[in-house]
Symmetry: C2
């Protein structure tokens, strides 16, 4: 049982030794450095790290650092660029140049990926080099790899989950410890779960970027982030929280995409979650992905969505996969045809708003119930996603999807309008 013996069976798998060039040495970069350092047997070493700030103290010998990206990109010895910087535009330039120079790329930059995924796909085709990005979607959860490899031939009906750890942390604290929204956000930032600009998280942009990437690997559809509707948790009011508590619901910020006919729908929105729902128990900074497949049925993956080690571990798995020349095949792109992304969806939602806001029963396709008290109004019913999106930008409007909300592709509006409360 010597390692040599294994060469008989796996002789077709040649593991290469990789030299890495890092861009960025923040939380994930440092996590990767330690993960790499403590992992025996991984055939990769960091040759150079490009950083921005000249005067920051660094925990590693200064020879390892450079302030000039070209030094890495033009180094013929470096096989793989690991891109871990914040700036999405600069990151895309690095990825593009790396591919043009015959280097593979590992990145966890969800904003950059979401904005440029189709181009990145085409660049990979053109230059024959891989871009891997497992760490970009739900940190440590191996969802991209499983969508690519394991659900390869299964028919996927939908994917949904908690794609953002900081909002889940905030909502968990708000519900379990009855802390205020502001205190929970502050705590999340202190712990490093929330970005310094929390609007990416609380307004639902961060989970939307991840959803855009997941949609490509689930349905083979490239969609631009600006086409996908995101409704955040930032306008959830005390009234909404009280309603949730009175009904033993939790609130989670859910990213979701599904197929209906030849349409793919996808959006991010808060939702009331019943205690029997598999996502109810996903607490604090944990992320979760539920895959609905025709044959494997419901599958749930839970793991840490952020943090230097969990994300560093995902990045390392990608580096490891590059030692045997792994590439995403984007299989669904070739299996599924004529699928188009759409926002023409009717969803069941709770809408709370200040008296006087221009929202009325006639806006609903199907109005279920409503009440008013203390200057606030509450309406529950089926309404178009696009209308919800418009309302979500109004001051004082809280939008939360119903528990197990029905989601129906939009037809011509023919429903009757009730007239309580109009």
């Amino acid at each position: 049982m010597s390692p040599e013996k294994n060469n008989t069976i796996n002789s077709h798998i040649k593991h290469r030794h990789l030299k890495l060039g890092l861009f960025g040495f923040g939380c994930v970069g440092q996590g990767l450095y330690h993960v790499l350092d403590e992992t025996p047997g991984i055939k990769a070493e960091i040759k150079k790290i490009c950083v921005k700030h000249r005067n920051k103290p660094r925990p590693l010998p200064h020879e390892l650092f450079t302030f000039d990206g070209a030094e890495i990109l033009n180094d013929p010895e470096i096989d793989v660029i690991v891109e871990l910087i914040d700036d999405a535009d600069a990151a895309f330039k690095i990825v593009k140049e790396a591919l043009q120079k015959g280097k593979s790329v590992v990145t966890a930059n969800k904003k950059m990926l979401a904005e440029h995924l189709e181009e990145i796909y085409e660049l990979q085709q053109t230059y024959g080099k891989a871009v891997l990005y497992e760490g970009s979607v739900c940190g440590s959860i191996p969802i991209i790899r499983n969508l690519e490899e394991y659900y390869d031939n299964d028919l996927l009906a939908g994917i949904e989950g908690i794609f953002n750890g900081s909002t889940n942390y905030i909502l968990t604290k708000v519900f379990e410890e009855k802390t205020s929204y502001e205190d929970a956000l502050k705590k999340a930032q202190e712990l490093g779960f929330a970005e310094s600009d929390p609007s990416l998280d609380v307004k639902g942009f961060d989970p939307k970027f991840k959803l855009v990437i997941a949609i490509a690997h689930t349905f083979g559809v490239f969609v631009k982030p600006e086409e996908v509707i995101n409704i955040g948790i930032d306008r959830i009011s005390d009234l909404d929280l009280k309603f949730a508590r009175d009904n033993c619901y939790s609130i989670k910020l859910i990213a979701r995409a599904f197929k209906a006919g030849n349409q793919v729908f996808g959006f991010v929105a808060p939702q009331f979650i019943e205690s029997t729902h598999p996502l109810y128990a996903v607490r604090n900074e944990y992320n979760a992905v539920q895959v609905q497949s025709a044959f494997a049925e419901q599958q749930l993956f839970v793991g840490k969505g952020a943090g230097s080690y969990p994300t560093g571990s995902a990045v390392l798995s990608d580096i490891s996969a590059l030692t045997y020349d792994y590439q995403y095949e984007y299989k669904k792109l070739h299996q599924l045809h004529d699928l188009a992304f759409s926002n023409r969806l009717i969803v069941e939602a709770f809408v709370s708003f200040d008296l006087g806001t221009a929202i009325s029963i006639s806006d609903f396709e199907h109005f279920e119930s409503g009440y008013a008290s203390h200057g606030k109004q509450y309406m529950v019913g089926k309404v178009s996603l696009e209308k919800l999106h418009k309302w979500s930008k109004l001051d004082g409007v809280g939008i939360i999807l119903a528990p197990n909300a029905s989601l129906e592709p939009q037809k011509e509006a023919t429903t009757t309008k009730e007239s309580i409360l109009a």
Copy 2:
């Protein structure tokens, strides 16, 4: 974005068209047939199916069937043997002969795999053909593939979970619907979750077989099933159930393995589970696997552990992987060295037994509490796994691990013995 264009990037991945020979056409075999039939783009077709009973009505044309295995094994056109029969000994013969004849194998036969895993590993080395068996461990959950590929370079500390759907179904019904143990078992059998011989499930053999396979891919250690201790749920008494309910616990049959120093421990036993535990919410026939890794931290996979479609889907994923010559590398076998399996473990358990049974406080390394009523005695404390195993064979003895039970490698016994109740 034509499929042809993709050949540029993925030219190194050649998908072969496979001809399959099936052994067995029961629940999983029929599931596979339908899954294959309804999946566009999978490059595999069933050429022949070997079945045992000549007179059973078959839903497919009779030319597809044979009663002579040699017809399949000797057919040079058949690339892959899909082994889906019950009999573990006959199954191993088929696997061995298939490899010798240059065919790859897909199987979900956990008993056969657990009993012969080291031989099967060596046969793969010798003959250079693959044996894939994702469907053997927790049905639809892609745990083997993730252990092999994704946690490749992460340091795994442990793996545990609910590896048996029928006992989980029974325990869920007993707790949630307060049905009797017997009724729940009968219902599980009717639904096809429990084997016709339920002892494999309720005595914990089935999850033990799966654990043996998981241990090989988590720690690179081959262990024989007879070396691994399994304590079932068949002796759980009404007193145990009452205790669980009074304390808001659930009971789950947990399979678990972990590394401590250079020892690997592994066993199957019922355990009290608190409502905040991630496995508490895993209900009915669902399985779950928790992976504890150094960097990715806690990861949870949940999915259906049995059923024709979920298992058929796992089998199909293996077939699909064979179209690009995928093989398990058994990487941990080459990364981790000097690990030895051991049962020398002290665990924290609740032991209930009839008055007069030869169990006393002095048997415990550390005795915590005890009480007696209605002819039954109850002792709680830390005790050796081997002693628990011995007791588990005595009539009227119920053994359930404490919630979050401490597990300590055994040292020489030096603990003080208290003397209440002796």
